[in-house]
Symmetry: C2
Subunit: 459 residues, 2 copies
Amino acid sequence: MLAAGGHSADATPETADLIITNGLVLTMDESRTARDAGVIVIQGDIIAAVGGEELLQQYKSDSLIDADGGIVMPGMINLHNHLPMVAFRGLGETNFNDRLFRVMFPLEKALLSRELIRVAARQAAIESALSGVTTVTDMYYHEDEVARSVTEVGIRGVLGETVIGFPVVDAAEPYGGLAYAERFIAEWKGHRLITPAVAPHAPYTVSPEWLNKSRELAEREGVPVLMHIAEMRNERELIARNVGALPEDQSIIEYLDAIGFLIDNLVAAHVSHVDDDDIALLKQRGVGVAHNPKANSRATSGMSPAWRMLEAGVDVGLGTDGPMSSNQMDIINVMGYAAVVARNEGEPDSRRLPPYDLVYMATMGGARALDMEDRIGSLETGKQADIIIVDSRAANMQPMHDPYAMIAFAAYPGNVRTTIVDGKVIVRDRDVLSVDLEAHAAEWAEVVKAVAEFAVSLE
Amino acid sequence: MLAAGGHSADATPETADLIITNGLVLTMDESRTARDAGVIVIQGDIIAAVGGEELLQQYKSDSLIDADGGIVMPGMINLHNHLPMVAFRGLGETNFNDRLFRVMFPLEKALLSRELIRVAARQAAIESALSGVTTVTDMYYHEDEVARSVTEVGIRGVLGETVIGFPVVDAAEPYGGLAYAERFIAEWKGHRLITPAVAPHAPYTVSPEWLNKSRELAEREGVPVLMHIAEMRNERELIARNVGALPEDQSIIEYLDAIGFLIDNLVAAHVSHVDDDDIALLKQRGVGVAHNPKANSRATSGMSPAWRMLEAGVDVGLGTDGPMSSNQMDIINVMGYAAVVARNEGEPDSRRLPPYDLVYMATMGGARALDMEDRIGSLETGKQADIIIVDSRAANMQPMHDPYAMIAFAAYPGNVRTTIVDGKVIVRDRDVLSVDLEAHAAEWAEVVKAVAEFAVSLE
């Protein structure tokens, strides 16, 4: 064993801000490099070196983390969420029929406030960090409050302010979200953790005119567009009712392309109801796809052919969807559902989405979908230090014959011991270090109480 | 707050062996009783009382567990597993094609030994206990070694010695498992934790003659019969090839009934390929069903209509299947997959298997399938004290609007803090108390090393 700070024959070791030793490192780089007894050197917010114990001759640090043989891998990317809805998690579960109108909308109408959004987003960001999510993609209201809480916890956020064709909590006029998004983007652009974005809700709630205004804002500012696309079984009917009927031979994807909406900056959530032509178009336009297999299959909204998109070269990542839809905030559990959805889509085939592909979607796939692959998604020199360490000694993580299979199919989110974002340790030994948890718990209790009191009226 | 051991006006409190206080108690009894600030009193291996804080006037104890507002519920029942296969977990995951013959059988042929079975079963029982499983149903070889390890860890086991029509590790002659089962049953019958059983492997590997010999043994001894039934898409072809073709109009279930094999003591695993007539027959004969939705959907072997069996009054519980099939040992994660399989079977309907039904299958459903509902499956006076406590303060367990929904859809297996079996605390604050973990780890490392060395030859 080499001691950190040991000297090689001819050089004084450089001082690093943080060194992780003794890791089973899955880099998720192009060559699928993995190594035992791996070492990662961090300078500031950046990965300075990835290698073996020889690095301990070149670098020393006062700040060492012994991974104890645990899996060291890129932090996971949750490509679709509605963080503040965690305040409502578990409500309306006994009957999904018309749940959106019977449960979700009344809850939001009665209870949404800056305060609830801020506190619930903090709660959700804490849960995300604990489960190894280092970047979360969000679509909701008052995204400046979400941004405040996400940065407080210290994870990375791609946060889209919602644009929708009727009045909502943070916009009295239809489509008022666009002006809100403009202000939000101006305020948060360039933040080291936050990528502000604009989030037109869906093709059936936003007119072509406002879709394109949203796209123009995104292109002008160089930020992402986030949208639900082809999620619902009856989405064509909904579009016909609210926006105007599509020609019979035009798919939803083709419609969006025809109006010029499909751009590289777009991340489309769900994309369950598409054919091979649609997939080719998504690939051609460079659209990223957020696949939410747990939420979609639980709600029976559709089995997305995400595995076929991946084969076609589309950038596909994994998302939970909101906490009322998948009930969990982690990407670890989503991987197993992704395998089940892929393998049972159309003609069943158990060879689809083997473990490496699942871990790829959870990391690099998400990074590519966000066009952030130069900064996050893999452990490579020069990238942001977004790193997690997963306990490999836990009973459920044994034996370690295939670490990718263990992450994809055996791990519990609670096996994540350490979460590092932008070079900062925000979870150590399963404790969140970045937030005053006691103060947060008091605020959270108030939110939960208010929701519980209102929820009685829903039954 | 009342102190334990406080006196009521007119009675001296009785001394109890263990008292759990401050629980969010889900009894899973017929009336679906749930209560905040619940108290459970344990005497020896038996639940002496379930109620509120008034019980603290009637009972005192030196042994108190403060549940801290956590969910207190019956221990979960894993209705189908092959515990020792945990030694092989993660192997052969990149290509499921012909995995049974390419990976599993060679591994078993080369490596199975009393030693591997004993050590791996202990590893699997530890993982089970940590995840809140208090009763595990197993089908494998050398079940006396499995029994030894399961009792050492201190969970309950329904353990079936395999009967199969070719030579295996513990029987040189075809069907030699039946004699082994006879000895095993004689040795372990009446053990406080173990229910020995006989496990004819499947309709396509066991002839009608030996199926009935197995059944006769079970009836004579009053023990369960465990078998894989209607698991495979091509099971009729397999039966035709190995046992003899069934008449075209006779289903597998009808065949088994025609030979007199369907009895109340039978627990059938999988049962994926059945119609309404088959389901009616299973109900009529009192057959229990072990539903393994994660394993079945991952391997694309079929979507069992377990929800329809439940509606028809069949006793259905949940299983993981072996660790090469679902890769996890807990029932918590299986509940989410059960919802997905049910809701997408045939014409999709998101109302199927709401949270209560999932928790029911995980507890009382399993108990009924095993004909053990008088002893386990719910928290009621006079039943065995098989109890778990689930952390409700963990970020992912908040908010607690609906505890059944949180257990079924939000919980991680690692949220289980405490596991009590037969009145004994075997896991406390996530630490296994019953086993010398260091000695076990050394034995386990040897097993893993041997498997890893052989596994290289499989690639």
